[in-house]
Symmetry: C2
Subunit: 406 residues, 2 copies
Amino acid sequence: MRFEIEKKLKNKLGRAGKITTPNGVIETPSFTVVGTKATVKSLTPEQVNSLGAQAVLGNTYHLYLQPGDDVVKAGGGIGKFMNWKGPTVTDSGGFQVFSLGAGFGTGENKFSKKDNFVQSSTLNNSEHGKLAKIDEEGVEFQSHIDGSKHYFTPEKSIEIQSNIGADIIFAFDECTSPTAEHEYQKEAMERTHRWAKRSLDHHNHLVARHPSRNKQALFGIVQGGRFEDLRKESAKFMAELCPPAGGFDGFGIGGSFSKEDLDEALAWVNKILPESKPRHLLGIGEPIDLFIGVENGVDMFDCVSPTRIARNGTLYTKEGRINIENAKYTKDFSKIEEDCECYTCKNYTKAYLAHLFRAKEMLASTLASIHNLYFIVNLVKNIRQSILDENFDEFKEEFLKSYYAK
Amino acid sequence: MRFEIEKKLKNKLGRAGKITTPNGVIETPSFTVVGTKATVKSLTPEQVNSLGAQAVLGNTYHLYLQPGDDVVKAGGGIGKFMNWKGPTVTDSGGFQVFSLGAGFGTGENKFSKKDNFVQSSTLNNSEHGKLAKIDEEGVEFQSHIDGSKHYFTPEKSIEIQSNIGADIIFAFDECTSPTAEHEYQKEAMERTHRWAKRSLDHHNHLVARHPSRNKQALFGIVQGGRFEDLRKESAKFMAELCPPAGGFDGFGIGGSFSKEDLDEALAWVNKILPESKPRHLLGIGEPIDLFIGVENGVDMFDCVSPTRIARNGTLYTKEGRINIENAKYTKDFSKIEEDCECYTCKNYTKAYLAHLFRAKEMLASTLASIHNLYFIVNLVKNIRQSILDENFDEFKEEFLKSYYAK
């Protein structure tokens, strides 16, 4: 994997760049589309490609449980298995293990049975609920599918991600609640650091054993919650694990912080992380967050939100979100956005989408997901372009003024 | 609408032909894909077109209730509303009114809440259940969605179908159970004849009132159950309603007969119906039925079965059906059919499909529906080709030997 910086923002941490992976190029800043179980929900890979997505992120926890990383490996790795011809990414499994798998938020989150969580808003318990059993070696968790018990270690996570075979993988980390206190955050962060070192060592071991395989890029994850001292300490630790050769190829920045902390926390971290390696902000993707992320040095994003809210009939527009099930749209034969170039807006009216949602037709999810992903993927592309064109601040102001006007 | 016969089977009633509609040509025999609520479930119109489908059939009953034929009309008619650029067909609403809407088979049919019925297998009650109130004028029924009461007459059905705006529409008919006795079948058939006449008169009235609109082709429906005298009487009546100018443009052949009666019943009817007009066998589409239909003079088919069974993981192959959820497919990296040219077979393995079904991912329905529709649509295309190539009998024997071998 190679990372080149093309242009930087003046007086800010943001930059436009290019990541070259064995399966293609990711122009950054970039929004990576989530394909939890080796499928972007309700879309074909061609539809994902057509809407402008450059990379797909699968979830290690989900793929390990279903269909099993051995099946994905036997199918030629996640890209070939799911017929996605571009770059791929997997997360470490940490987030799901500590939320879904450990009974986090059970009954509180309407998505808990079906999908992975919205990262920053659902972790309420620094003890990870009753079902999480963490020790120095790893974590025991229960499958959200059948309750069966499993044990993840940093080495196990790396083995699984090696089998899944994505271009970019992540070190195993402990995810904590944003409300966890300093003492627990520090303990968890220090464990995450030791696990990062073990993830890196095991990754290097696998690479040495299979030199002919495409080398996966390994990203270390910075944690530390909302605390400045911890975030800085974590960034320093990860930065030091980097050079010389064999270090991390990039960095993940883990939730959990509240939305209010986002810009500060990113600035603390990204001022310390080496400029020459890409940074992925994990699980965050609302429009405002994308601007904050980019200007504070984030190169990659991923989030289930655009497709999840799409399946509930919530659609992005430049004037904010709308819910297509609102009665006023049933006879509205205009497009979601008249000037939107997505497949959905080029071919369908609001009235047709309203009908599909009310009739609970599957095509509703497909068309809404295409629009929302197009909106977010292309917003990040436009942010990138504004860096290249040196008008980031104007673009940001104009967009946010319209989007949050109501 | 124009219908031309290109070639006939020797010593049989089958023929290859061509129907020209305002929105394009249908080469016959042809399988029309069902898009009940102005969407072919889980597919985009481009996917439907790519798999070789020539025409889409919407259900009048469903579209009347949701989103309402006024909405479809305001959206430019069914084709424009749903972004389908080829020919379109609507049924009369009769079948659903007498099954879904009248409480037919309630609780007995697993699809009763979600979809329309499989035509020939679910009608068990010649009295149409307690909720059907038939009189000479029309039929009162309850919405399967909210229980609200509605009243369909032949004139109402034609008005609705005029609003929906398909290229081919059907006269309003009474659908009976295949087990109904002769006395009731005769009574229902005679009512259907009077309703056919009223449908035709009202259609001609609408055409005269709106001469500038694309003229919809109106098909009359032959009924008569499994009784030779009634089927022949019904065919004669419909044939006589045909010439001179202003008569039916083609014919529907309504269930209900058992599978065993199919070839005889079709032969009785199609020997009487004028050769120069196309015939649509309503709601039947299993492979064996397609061959029996064609050799007995059927030009058009439609059936929900290919997409419905697809959503349950049942896939057509030349060696019969398979269920992709069978454990043996979870690590089977072969295609559904190695020589199948459909999008699904060109890009995905059985193991991937098995995973999508087990994970209850929406893409499962999409990929399975594409394969099954491709299979059936292209089977009918190949039957057509075998008529043109004068090897229908050989093709039929070879296909059925393989398909029903197990």
